[in-house]
């Protein structure tokens, strides 16, 4: 990433942070889902990136193709319990002794952690269907 892009990303992140600071309680509102979905399988570009990250990291090998849990826990359930920060910490730092890898060495995961959260939250909420997704309007 060049310096200019880095700065832009940083600015965007700060703006987001500032915005959420300005809107306390927004996260609790029912309409504040981190994803947009239509017809169960059409999602916004960010959530689509989240699904692509899920797919690229072969998460289904442990958590199941529908996040239903196999060797790893059901993420449909986990995402009802974990806070977003707990989710991020689990994915990036892993739970090594339980077999969950740390994905902080993956650029794709680090860059898409919010998108991954959005996708899995959508699956956990039952709003997004399992399997292949496409972008809304495309």
């Amino acid at each position: 990433m060049n310096r200019l892009t880095k700065k832009a990303v940083l600015t965007a992140a700060c703006t987001l942070a500032a915005l959420s600071g300005l809107l306390p309680g927004a996260a609790l509102a029912a309409d504040a889902a981190p994803y947009k979905v239509a017809d169960g399988h059409k999602v916004d570009a960010q959530t689509l990136s989240g699904w692509k990250t899920w797919r690229a990291m072969a998460c289904e090998r442990c958590h199941g193709a529908a996040q239903e849990g196999m060797v790893g826990p059901s993420l449909v359930n986990s995402l009802k319990v974990l806070s977003k920060d707990e989710f991020k910490a689990t994915v990036l730092k892993g739970r090594i002794e339980k077999g969950m890898p740390n994905f902080d060495s993956s650029k794709m995961v680090s860059e898409n952690i919010d998108n991954l959260y959005a996708y899995l939250k959508g699956r956990s909420d039952g709003a997004i269907e399992p399997g292949r997704l496409q972008e809304i309007g495309k």
Partner: protein, 601 residues
Amino acid sequence: MSFTKRLIRWWPCLALAAAPAFAATSDVEQLTKDPKNWAMQSGNLANHRYSELKQITSKNAKNLQVAWTFSTGVLRGHEGGPLVVGDTMYIHSPFPNKVFAISLEDQSIRWKYEPKQDATVIPVMCCDTVNRGVAYANGKIFLQQADTTLVALDAKTGAELWKVKVGDPKLGETTTNTPHVFKDKVLTGISGGEFGVRGRVTAHDMNTGKILWKAYSTGPDNELMVDPAKTMTWTDGKMAPVGPNSSLKTWQGDQWKLGGGTTWGWYSYDPATNLVYYGTGNPSTWNPRQRPGDNKWSMTIFARDLDTGMAKWVYQMTPHDEWDYDGVNEMILADIKVKGQPRKALVHFDRNGFGYTMDRVTGELLVAEKFDPKVNWATHVDMKSGRPQVVAKYSTDKNGPDFNSKGICPSALGTKDQQPASYSRKTGLFYVPTNHVCMDYEPFQIEYTAGQPYVGSTLSMYAAPNSHGGLGNFIAWDAGTGKIVWSKPEKFSVWSGALSTAGDVVFYGTLEGYLKAVDNNGKELWKFKTPSGIIGNVHTWEYKGKQYIGVLSGIGGWAGIGLAAGLTKGTEGLGAVGGYKDLAKYTELGGVLTVFALPDR
């Protein structure tokens, strides 16, 4: 003449001729000739999984009962099986790779060994931490730990004698294979085809662990240990030299460095030719568009000189893999009639669904036929070029990324995975545990990050359509003609190594947890429900005049991995193990060895 008979006849001459050089050779070959022992994971150097014992017969097998049991104290998938040498049994477990030495007299534990391994290896073995058993030679037990450490233990005390690391789990390298002791060397491989690992085999000094040679599956000729002018391969209906850069020219750019071709299967060795035989796994990634070319020498049978490591011949079964049909399955050496002519053959049941019969001395392709009639990704193997004739609609490369190719048979599990077949020296037939599973396969673009999964495909698996509805078959195979002699349907994949015996009984385990005995015609004689699903291999031995049969149960592995919570909810065919969700109705995790014998009169 059978392979063993021939060996016995020549043994004194060989020993005499090579006496000085044999000073350091191992006793394991001799030990395997006494059927009271089960001294190698596959019973002998030739991977026969056959026993001359015949106390248990097709007449009395129905009377088999449990003699004793032993818990390993470990969950997850238990592959491989126990070794028996004299009055001692050696049992291993999946990660953390415990080893127990057990007295056959009273089943007391003589010693127990548990290596200290970094837990970071577990996620890299995603999703199961299997191990295919220990090896024995000259008073030593050899264990290939998950974290790639090869360790030698004193068989009497369990004390560590030496250790050597053959890979780096941080790069996705792990190990699941059994070490193979051939003559004076210990050979081992590497796993991690889904992490961009570059496969290789290393040969070690049995007494020190020192690496004597290391031969890669992909890359430049010197690292492959091929001689462009002398290493031969089946070309246009005859054997011809592979020529220079035989691997490099079949890859684009540096992709061969992430080439896969891992080596976690069952090797064999023929003392008469001094050749060691093994297969290599899938090329990385599973998205074929990212690696144009034949991707040599992934998916290949290698025949190497045991002493020098140089390849004598190679044969690639699945050029440019598009389905994850690893070529690592067992290489069985048998002297059989092929199309009427006696041959020193190598028989190999590949993941790709073809049963291959090769001349093991020259490397000539003799037979390549489907060992499941449902195999559809290729119409046949062209016997002149040796290449499978791929059906366009099942070509995941032609269909390209983000296209779901449906109805491909077999699935990525293969018509058979590592679960080793048995060759009966008595009937001349092969008894083969198989999968009867098809798949949908959707590749996608993927970037490589060291130590991260490098798969690049989404799969759905299900029982072969328009068949008996089950996920497996147990078959008898004639390798001389390439024909199925009989086929016994099973509800689930048969993921357990088979055993055939001179008592005309053939044994195998099922994923529900049954150990089954059938006669030479496939008729079921007896079954027993062990504590968990069986992915272990059936072994036999004799102690104090009694024949025993032993098998590890402990569900897990690729097929059994869906057993943990949630799969009963069903995902309508989605996912790698969708077809296996019913398993949860039958069994739970837990490693136990169950030993059987006939009752005392």
